[in-house]
Amino acid sequence: MKPPPFAYECPTEVADAVALLAAHGADARPLAGGQSLVPLLNFRLARPAVLVDLNRITALGQIAVENGALRIGAMARQAAVEADPDVGRGWPLLTEAIGHIAHPQIRNRGTIGGSLAHNDPAAELPAVMLALDTEMTARGSKGTRTIQAQDFCAGTMETALAPDELLTEIRIPALPEGTGWGFREAARRQGDFALIAVAVLLRPSGAGGIDARVVVTGTGEGPVRMRGAEVVLTERGTEGDACEVAGNAAAEASEPADDPHAPAWYRQRLVAALTQRACRDAAMRLGR
């Protein structure tokens, strides 16, 4: 469990990092918190020739609210975002979800950008970004572009980023007053990757209506918007058995596979139970 040989670069400017990635192409890999990449190196599952360490690029570490939107630099540590009071006030779903990532020690190193770029199919952050309509900013040798959350995740551990592109920042729009939210996760142990996690967002949309967002992760497909469940909530609200019906709709729409941690049927049960609970949580917070 020692990595194969690699060259190491530690630029201090984004432009230099991008230039290094462009120069080395697919042989280079950015290094953020190292909490996913270093294990991959040690198991020799990744063999990049060059590591481009982003940890000295101070410009990527900011957390700021601008015109109501939240902007987080790719290198902001998960723990810093979790502890940020503005985030807690404006985007409590994000704060809550980060608390489910690993353990404090790992969140102290692990970054927002690293988690998103890594895009583990059971990771919390990609799911939450989808629920929050996040915009990702990527910078490569050909310039800067914006990627919408729904286009960012491109399958298991794949993203829309090109090999020479860095994720530099994410931007999360403001949530309307009174937005209800819920986040539920089932994991075997505190800090484990989710067996299933569900993020629910209920935005008030005039005349007492709601605009529902239900995202499930952990089925193996990465984060999935459960449109059937969203329709149930949008059309029926959260009264009566609506949350249960939404949960069942989400379970029906999910297509987990058997894996060593759980059989497919079990994950479907979790989707139903956790979606229902996250909807209830969101309903309780709605309008407050």
């Binding site: 469990m1 020692k2 990595p3 194969p4 040989p5 198991f43 020799r44 089932a186 075997r188 142990r189 505190q190 800090g191 484990d192 990757f193 067996l195 060593p260 941690h261 759980a262 059989p263 049927w265 079990y266 049960r269 979790l270 139903a272 139970a273 956790l274």
Partner: protein
Amino acid sequence: MTTRLIGEPVERREDERLLTGRARFIDDVHLSDMLHAAVLRSPHAKARFTRIDARAALALPGVQAVITHEDLGAANMPMPLLNEDPGFIHPRTHRALAPGQVRFVGEAVALVVADSRYLAEDALDLIEVDYAPGAAAVDLVAAAAPGGPLVHDDTDSNVACRTADNTGDIESAFAAADFVLREELRPERGAAQPMETRGVVARYDASLDTITIWDTTQAPVSARGVIADKLGLSEAAVTVIAPDVGGGFGVKIFLVYPEELLIPFAARLLDRPVKWIEDRREHFIGSNHERLMVHRIEVAATRDGRILGIKDRFLYDSGAYCPYGPINAQCAQAILPGPYKIPAVHTEYEAVYTNTPVVSPYRGAGQPHGNFVTEAAMNHVARALGLDAAEIRRRNLVRPEDCPWDSGRIFQGNTPFIHRDSDYPLQLAKAVDALDYAGVKRGQPAEREQGIFRGAGIAFFVEGTGISPYEGVEVRVEPTGHVHVATGFPSQGQGHHTTLTQIVAETLAVAPEQVVVESGRSDRFAWGVGTFASRAAVVGGSAALGAAKAVRAKALDLASEELEVAPEDLVLADGAVHVKGAPQMAVTLAALAYAANPINTLQAGAEPGLRAADYYRSPDGAIASGVHGAVVVVDIATGMVEIETYVVVHDCGVMINPTIVEGQILGGTAQGIGGAFYEKLRFDEDGQPLVTTFMDYLIPTAMEIPPIEIHHMESRCSLNPLGVKGVGEGGAIPAAAAFAGAVEDALEPFGATVRAVPLDPPAILAMIEGRAES
């Protein structure tokens, strides 16, 4: 005044070093000019090979050697068989490096030695072996049946050993039964995961032709014997030192692992120190496993819940070799009747080779298995008869007035399992009380209406501890006033230095700070075997007491001459011998130690020094016992379980140090909970391990383990001078049964029956939904 130390919760002497980073673990051993090794391990569960091509690896700059079985010569003869069994058909032990045939994924095939571990691992990637894979025997039940792939081609069956044992009249027991329970119970495969993995450092001294080996072993003295023999050296030329060791739990006692031989071999070959530190992946595939058994039991009972007899036919997964003998099976069958008066017990086991890593004891050594079987059966018989789970136990317990009560079973070390010195009914009463068992039961109907599924489970354990072989301790008072204590059994964190200090300091009436303990160095004390089977306090502690008493007697004799006062009129206190009633008439132990070494006047036949060694073996061991109780709440939508209350009532006899006792119980129980709900090793049908990281092998953390409430009952053991019973493993033994019983009780409305541990949430949901268990 002698100060009482035995029984006091004195602070552990080890902790200051451990907590301030001054401990020396194996990876802290740095020698100049040291090389680093990595092991090439088989990627196949079963394969033959004829050629190992290491040319590319050797061409890599910094690679010093690639050692294969051909290089080892006589050193590669099979390892010793450590335990006999009357039913052995074909015992097979492992070798340091596989000679042309591999039998599990992870088996050592070659050793690379290089300037760094990084380079050594690079070189592993470059070695080519012409493996010709064959069909593997992986599933225990299939491997036991005739006709499948063989693990050892020179045998006609994978059954290594078939042994039966009979207590009482089993046929009459079943003839008299009102009810017979028949079921299959499976404790699944797991493995000890000490925080520190294994490691070996060896240094060869070419001038003296001697080797010093730092080794994470739990048995340095025994390891020395095997290594010296294989390397063709005198035992005196080999020193094995177990430094600070970060947890053992059984997996670090094995005579010997390939690396324990390969690293000194390489150090001698290259005449440079060599270090090998096992990584976690290697620990999952190259170190021993435990647990998997399949028990088919029949339990005969009367209508009112008296157990008349148990028949248990079980398969024991031995892994690819069985150098330990079927020791776990022996222990499982010995403790099968538990604390119960079961007149007839019939056991039959088959130890079966499979193409998986070797199985050897892990905390409890088969006792968690046997315990799960009996305790689960108790719950299931109770349910079938409409009895309460605590009540059926009460009706069957051995009572204090029955003792000594011979269970008729023979335990490890040829120890008869005879109950004495404990009060099982009182243990049960305390556990039931501490758990508020009745309250939980009373609350259930109303809670279930509200969708809350809470349940209580209890499980007894009896544990064979303090078994043979013997251990020895030498106590020597120095002219400096220090008391030097040396023993062969090392510590892996248990706090032996503290408990041995308590025993010796109290007996000699010296300050604990004056006592210096050295353990686990074959150059300081080379008798005895090692640390395992909850025996250090019973066996080693009794030897320490014996040695300290002998030194005390010598000191009194010497002082009697010095002070011209009869020994009966002398007492020890504050590091000196005083005349009773006249404390100013005294001579210090330091002065006596000086006098005991009359360099110019030693008489013929006399021995110099104020010192003594004592050796102790306990023919009947010491049985520890207790009850675990758990209250759990099951989330019936997810199958997740929360342990609300966990109670341990236990009796380990005299507690030398209650804090250390509690540490053993807490750690053991945490491991037991791991085996109840979290930790499981799996293989695919080709024998590829599916669990080789802590992402997949779910060791519970402090977040998962509930607060554990401990109730001590200290019934003095009548079989050894300290009155102690072992406490190292008891925590781990009944946790699975207690947890499973609580889950069954919570899910009683669904008719849930637990027949395999560890449970997991899918298995629990399957019981709730009445699905076939997955």
